[in-house]
Amino acid sequence: MIVENLRFLGHRIVNAVWRMGYASRFFMLILFYSGTSFRRFHLTIRELFSSGVMSLIIILVAGTFVGMVLGLQGYETLKRYGSESALGSLVALSLVRELGPVLAALLFASRAGSAMTAEIGLMKATEQISAMEMMAINPMARVVAPRFWAGVISMPLLSALFSAMGVFGGYVVGVVLIGVDEGSFWSQMQAGVDFQHDIVNGMIKSFVFGVAVTAIALFEGYDAPPTAEGVSGATTRTVVESSLTILFLDFILTAFMFQGE
């Protein structure tokens, strides 16, 4: 019984390590075959449309609502300490440092990441990938790398849009609806948010998340068994794995960026 369990555990670990190695190799291959994505940039533009433009609506709407909630909750909390004027700073800092990059990445993973996995998985299941290989066209360069770079480019832009919409939402609730002084809202925000320290670090975060989410999504799609269950399982794994990876990386990056304060 114990031997059985140990064997099972060992099997799982060996599998996990093997998959990690396979995924790293896949990632290196994406980078290696990235030349085409930039030499023939229209390939990447096509993917920018399907991952970036198609995610716009959800990002804009979600950003606005998150900002509005931050405005309401922040006001309720700050009121107790008599510092409602810090609302702008609170809303902007939470968005720019954390919520913008993280929530935008989570939404991106479930909106665009899952679509990428399903698309690649289906291309594989219907032998489109094999067909491409038989035509002497490298699917890594032609199919995978442009999607990767489109994701990496989209992610910081979407995150910036999310944060900007969030600040707008916080402004609507805080200033327009509740009546926090407009001048102190903006000035506290500007005093509290540092360009390099907060905004640039937030952008770095979302760039890292973009790399992680698209790499996971593409790998899962490419690795999916060519069946209906295989593709649906891979899509689920993409969302689960990238969400966990985003939160884990967020912790690591935050620890490095905002340490010693």
Binding site: M123, T126, E127, Q128, S130, A131, M135, A136, I137
Partner: protein, 269 residues
Amino acid sequence: MSSQALVEIRDVNFAYDSRPILKGVNLTFPKGKVIAVMGGSGCGKTTLLQLIGGALKPSGGYVKVDGQVIHELDHKGLYHMRRRMGMLFQFGALFTDMSVYDNVAFQMREHTDLPEEIIRDLVLMKLHAVGLRGTHHLMPAELSGGMARRVALARTVALDPMLVMYDEPFAGLDPISLTVVGNLIRRLNDALGATSVVVTHDVQESLKIVDYIYFIADGVVVAEGTPAEISTSDKPFVHQFVHGEMDGPVPFHYPGGDYGQDLNLRPGR
């Protein structure tokens, strides 16, 4: 077999993990001919095509195409070789995110520097050859199964390959489409001066269009010959296959022990 051989397959062995698929097969595809490779499902026909295309490596023996051993080619050499091959996949494998036009133009755009006007003419010519010039603006999802197969055929021969491989070109087609595709395979082969390999289990259709037939079973070539020889053959396997009989050398029952025992029938009851 008078003319020169384009593809030579010699003593090829292949195994997935430890499960042997091919056990020393020898086939020769002469230039300009249409050859059928037949056998039951799962006998290694598709594996054979993948070996020719270089997607798999044989564990023994070699596959030679146009004088070059496929598994000894490096990445560049293999890709160069593949440009001169075309392969029609089982269900066409059209790129679903591109129009019919873009599908056929795909290889021309990827592999040549031809100006767009010439590509346009070439694409329309290829589509005309399969009788679907009018569909060039449609998406693959808007085509019927038979039409999709014909578009895939046009895409396969887009760069005028010297070797065209067909993986189950007749699977899932209605009788009319089946005849159309069958005739197209023959006509395109003769028009291009290419060599075609048709992997199929559709005996009646292939007997009409091919020059030579190989039968594969259990990883070895069990019979070969011209269509006339095959249809009159009295080998039990070929006879069963050609006439579609239920039981014969290929048994109806998967080996499963004693039937009575499985049903818990005890003798004397």
